[in-house]
């Protein structure tokens, strides 16, 4: 379409759309808006200062009791308790140590391999892996966008 016809089309649509008056709002809109305003928000969604006084007092009492109870509990902990806990956890920590040793051995083997195969070969491998990741990410993005937009539409 040439620019003149495009301009004519634009003017035509402007004329058609400019004169449109407001649509009538549904009769219930005002009532439901006012109702929504009058409905009190649940107490837990209000700021603390907006809570009822008894609720605030109860909250302070419970919070103080929890903190006080925690402090008192710490005082009655037996000195040998921590040592006992550490002894009981030792199988788990030993597992982590073994895992770390395996990782270190693999890293050493990799370093040895790099030294043996040459930097050029390793660089080519790195480029190939990066390229493959980029292709996967690119296709993934395209598929997700296609799925979200639907056929023949943009993101709206």
């Amino acid at each position: 379409m040439n620019p003149d016809m495009e301009k004519e089309l634009e003017t035509e649509m402007s004329l058609a759309l400019k004169g449109l008056p407001n649509l009538a709002a549904p009769p219930g809109l005002l009532a439901r808006t006012m109702r929504a305003l009058e409905q009190p928000a649940p107490w837990r969604l209000k700021p603390w200062t907006g809570w009822a006084l008894p609720t605030r007092i109860a909250f302070v009492v419970i919070a103080l009791a929890a903190v006080g109870g925690g402090v008192a509990e710490l005082r009655v902990v037996e000195p040998g308790l921590l040592a006992e806990a550490s002894r009981r956890l030792s199988p788990v920590t030993a597992g982590f140590t073994s895992f770390w040793n395996v990782l270190r051995a693999l890293a050493d083997a990799l370093a040895l391999g790099v030294g043996h195969l040459g930097k050029g070969f390793m660089l080519a491998c790195l480029v190939a892996v990066t390229g493959a990741c980029a292709v996967c990410a690119g296709f993934g993005t395209i598929f997700v966008r296609l799925a979200l937009s639907g056929p023949g539409k943009n993101q709206l």
Partner: protein, 184 residues
């Protein structure tokens, strides 16, 4: 007058404008009503500043546009792909169009009918075309502003608006007289 009464008058004053903006962008009466309510709930939070401010209408319109666009991009995109595989009839759910009371009670019947047809043609456009067209023609936004608002390229905005105009012309021309066409 109490605060509640003042706000009620405020809502009554602007509800048609807010609803129209949301309705034309979403093309769905129930969604437009939800959006309108949300606009007024937000307005209530700033009512001390908005009350008596001549720019309140502009503020409401801006919020209505933003919420409508958010709604379209956030909720519709999730199911449009699957729903369109099954059902692709854009004129499927036609809600009755009702205009706010006209200022001139002797409004020409032909004009009213023409407006009705324009509204119906607008609703039949896919949202990707309808939204930029409304933002351009009814909200007076520039192509660049629309592109920034919708997060799409300038070329896409121009193409979508052109397609929307062409589709509107195709849809309207058999049913309307050429009374709103510019002189050749």
């Amino acid at each position: 007058m109490t605060d509640a009464q003042q706000f009620e008058a405020f809502v009554r004053n602007y509800q048609d404008m807010v609803f129209s903006t949301a309705m034309r962008l979403t093309a769905n009466a129930a969604e437009a009503e939800d959006i309108s309510q949300e606009v007024f709930l937000r307005a209530f939070e700033h009512f001390s500043e908005l009350a008596g401010d001549p720019r309140a209408g502009g503020w409401l319109k801006r919020v209505a546009i933003n919420l409508s666009l958010n709604h379209l991009s956030r909720y519709r995109a999730r199911w449009s792909f699957f729903s369109e595989l099954v059902h692709r009839n854009p004129a499927g759910e036609e809600a009755e169009i009702e205009y706010a009371a006209p200022n001139d009670v002797e409004e020409d019947y032909a004009v009213a009918e023409r407006r009705l047809l324009v509204e119906q043609a607008l609703r039949q456009l896919p949202s990707a075309q309808r939204v930029p067209m409304i933002l351009f023609h009814l909200e007076g936004m520039k192509y660049e502003e629309i592109a920034a608002k919708l997060g799409v390229s300038l070329a896409k905005v121009k193409t979508d608006i052109f397609r929307a105009r062409t589709a509107m012309r195709k849809s309207l021309s058999p049913r309307l007289q050429n009374d709103w066409r510019p002189a050749a």
